[in-house]
Subunit: 208 residues, 2 copies
């Protein structure tokens, strides 16, 4: 373990720009690509979650019915509040993780700490499922608002608040895209965690 | 690669009951536990998904309002149809995967094929997210049915169909439990896939 750890630190730390010529070359290239993909995804997710939160959170429409003013806001529907909360948490989390990625890349260190990899993996998994659940609930609410439920006499409300509904729809679409990115990211962090275990395995099997 | 592969086949195949005395011992124990956990989870998921599908799918209640008979069924709500479909797919998938687990354990072979591990990982991930999304949507529908949405004049329907609503609630609770198991399983299959990459890594780094 110590041996391969030192090899990796050496390879990345001493010549961060070049591809060192030893049998780990292939791995270094893969490792670099994975880290760049992780950073790009984290930035993308941060941007998308802010965009989705703003789209849904700032959406209002005022409708006058006779002399009564009715105002539609995202807080009228619990699912949208849940969606905005999920987006906010994702944005803050992605920002912190993005900074960690950049620091890691600048310092040229390779992630070999199992507890840290486990924490990142757990966080990514939790947020991926949170986002998928939030999108599921919000999409269901939107479907009721757009299509109604005649059998239950729940009326279509998007006829009344057309502009409001469209913007919410855009917010949900962005959140869906965000969820897909988050799922991809959770695969990358799973790779980062579990290859550490594979490393032990090969060592044990080869009888060191 | 071939070397460690053969070691593993030997260790598990020749003495399936004993713990072989070499440096891979620790790994063998972990590997065995992971496989047993996988099989138990797959059986549990299969059972839970059948239970949830039956609870939701067979739920009906007839209400007489004056002389008109109204029948509540799960098909009245799209989210419940989605939930039953997700449960059905999960049950069928878990059955097939459970058989694969049992065959693998009986034959004593260790999963070393990357394409197969990738297929299992992808399937588990897809079903985990499918189930989480289905539970999210169904829970949202149930919340509307139970609590109504006074601002939108969507009325509470669980006052009318109390018994029906309770059984749907049980079905959603079982589905939630099923989703949690499915998430755990997807972590196990991620472990199964990505440790194969770690294995290569250690080999490369040690300079074979």
């Amino acid at each position: 373990m110590e041996f391969s750890k030192n090899m990796s630190y050496l390879g990345v730390g001493v010549s961060p720009g070049n591809v060192p010529v030893y049998h780990g070359t292939n791995l270094k290239v893969i490792d670099r690509r994975v880290r760049v993909a992780e950073l790009v995804l984290r930035c993308l997710i941060c941007g998308l979650s802010v965009l989705a939160a703003v789209l849904v959170g700032t959406d209002t429409q005022i409708k006058e019915i006779f002399t009564i003013q009715k105002k539609a806001r995202f807080t009228d529907m619990k699912a949208l509040v849940f969606l905005v909360a999920a987006n906010g948490i994702t944005a803050a989390y992605s920002l912190v993780q993005g900074v960690r990625c950049v620091v890691g890349m600048v310092r040229g260190s390779v992630l070999f700490s199992k507890p840290l990899a486990l924490a990142i993996f757990s966080g990514d998994q939790a947020l991926a499922y949170l986002n998928v659940a939030a999108v599921g609930a919000a999409a269901q609410s939107a479907a009721f608002a757009k299509l109604g439920q005649t059998k239950l006499q729940w009326m279509v409300i998007c006829n009344m608040y057309g502009k409001f509904c469209n913007q919410i729809g855009e917010g949900i679409a962005v959140s869906l895209l965000l969820s897909i990115c988050m799922v991809g990211l959770s695969c990358i962090s799973a790779f980062g965690l579990f290859r550490l275990y594979g490393s032990n395995k090969a060592k044990n099997n080869s009888g060191w």
